[in-house]
Amino acid sequence: MRGITHFIMGITVATFFKSLVVGAAMYDSLLILLGGIFGLLPDTLDFKFLIYMEKHDVVIDPDPTDMRPQEIAEKIASEIDRAGTLQPGKMTKVQLHTLKLGPDLWQSYSVYFNTKMNEVVVRVGPHVTMSGVPSFGTEPPADKALGVAKYKPKLIDRYGKPSEIKGFSGPSFGFLKRKDGSIEVVFIPFHRRSGHSLTLGLGFALIGYLLTMNWIVGAVIFLGWFMHIVLDTFGHMGNNLFWPLTKQRTSGLYLLTAADPYWNAFMVYSCIAIITWNLSLYNASVSPSYTVPWITALGPVLYLFLVVAIPWSILGMAYYIYRARTKERKPVELFAPMTGAVAQMAAEGMMGEMEEYEIAERPKPSVLLRILGIAVLVAIFVVLFIYGPGW
């Protein structure tokens, strides 16, 4: 999920603690913010520290004035082959660099693992802005546009789509040797490992408790962290929950897409609704003029049904219908159309087999596991609603 979703979710769980809300209102306490800070901390650790600790076996840093897609494809394919010779559980890592040409101008290129054909496909695109708007006339000549290289091992690519390299830092790929001899593509291998483990969250909570000797501080730190892990697990990429005891990250529950605007907006809205409920409930202990009695009188179930479930069901239905109706429609833009390297691969039919691949290979978690994931989230909130007023 987006950073703000994690941050506000952490704040939300903190507002269940009556002593924190009353303390904030009466004594200007700032402890509620611990929930938000630790709610966002896993991504802070990953993208501000752990990203720089990653060791790469191969670094691909092409010359933007002389793009050689065939060389790039061969380097990646050779790393996949090398991963095939490693012991199970070992990984090779490849870093792909972005190519900055100006304040907001990048040389775009994309990498696609065509697992049906055992090929790495590299496509060079035009110069684009960060948001993908191309500069016309910068498309590469035909002999420097495409590179295809074969690899030998069976490759499992859970993402299943081309990755476009065009802005910020480029992605890294890990090629993990599995017990069955196949190679798994691990996207940004540094992410969601130690920085997203429950063990580290417990460690921070313990430190918080020992520094303050207040169990509520520890609980808020852990809950903020824990909710981050739970929300991330709902997506496609899982977490390494018990690092350092476990070494690899698990698969996500595939319930939603992390960057989906609908789910992020829904989460942020729901959090605001819950914070509103908590403030109304606990502000009553501070002063009657700071509370809204009719909100509290509704009770949490009816309140959430009226304020969250009904409006978001309507919005969700409208969103679903819109998505269904516009699925086959090509986007029409006010300005230049999006034609970066990935869009060109799609236009040239290079991704034609992607859907078939996704159905065949993508490891969907069992329905039971998915229900369990949602049950954990619901259970946390039920516990907080019941016991929060006593804390």
Binding site: R2, L33, L40, V268, N283, V286, E333
Partner: protein
Amino acid sequence: METLVYLLYGMLGVIIGSLLSILPGLHPLNFAGIGIFLYLAFPMDPLGMALIFAGMLIAYAIVGTITTTFMGSPDDSTMYMAFPNQKYLMYGRGYEASVATGIGSMGSVVLLLMLAPFASTIFPIFRKLLTPHFHWVLIGVTVYILQSEWPKDWGSRAKTRFGRLKDGWASLSAGWVTFFLAMMLGFIVLNVPITPIDKAFQNIMPVFVGFFAVPWVLTNMASRVNIPPQTVSNTFYISKKDLARGTTSGFLGGMFAAYQPIVTAGIGGVLAGHSTSTQGDVQFMISGSAGRFAYYVGAFFLFWVPLLHLTRGGMAWITGVIYQPRTDSEFWLLMAAIAVAAVFAFMLLVFLSRVVAKVIAGFSFKKISIAVLIGIILLVFWFSGLEGLVILTIATGLGLVPPMFRTRRLNLILGFFFPIFLNMAGLGAGISRFLGVY
């Protein structure tokens, strides 16, 4: 007939506001000062004057984007869309960018009208609940903005882990330093009267201009480019998705900023943009202008909402001196005035953008920037005296740090207002005493 006259007052405000909006560097705080000057010079019906103020704000929110698009002198609320707008100017599509921002504002007008019937129910709830909690909400916003800034190393090529860490943290550290220095400036400017006493209400104008407009103008001067010929088309298409997402996100951010004291449109825009995953230049332009409209006009709107009458923003404060809205009918008169004035302002924006787009082609950006810079310096001197120019110079120095180190410009404004957040949390006075600025 009387209603029609009042609506005309709103349109008169649009004309006055449009004339002032073309002057780069002016802020609604200056508008409020000019408004008071107008009222003292031409005493008139207070309600009519209040509607003129509304028109001026609407013009600032809609027509005022021309300076950001064509002259490259953004303020804190237009920083959000300054990059895409100027990029399209360089693609010869400044007119389209300008109209797209106008469409975002019109989307915000529609949402504001839709919100109006429920405003007197919704906003009092938040006022009751949040009043004892403003301090942690504001500090939380600051913490989030600082914590959510990611490194901009563009893929460090350093060989060692420490080298990469150093590259990544160069922009982040600059962001923290910017925040800290802006906070120090805030402690001084907000606690010690620097500008002459008769101009004290304009004391933060040079800070804002120095943070945002002057660094942008200086950067443009250094870029030494000419503006290419501009395409002026009669029709163009914006996808429903971009329109809906951009408008909704911008409106939510702008209204949050309007309601929450101290939070500006830029901050609200970032929060709402993150919440709704705003992406792409078109969405940024629409969202930025929708947020700017919701922030300035929304704050004024809150002052008129029955059972609320919340005073937010300089224009509402000034209006409160001469006029206090009391009834539902006055609120709905304001809504009608907003609708009519916004349509009028949008038409002016389209017309003026066409004119500017045709005239500006071939101009040296450097020459335009020099003219804009001279204009800004004269305005700052006019409004805040020599002392204001000193503050302007210091703020410009700070304002140049973010573009040089690729960090967020929002850190400037958050840092500057952070002393107020600390005051709310009961911590500001001690720090002020420690620094000797009280």
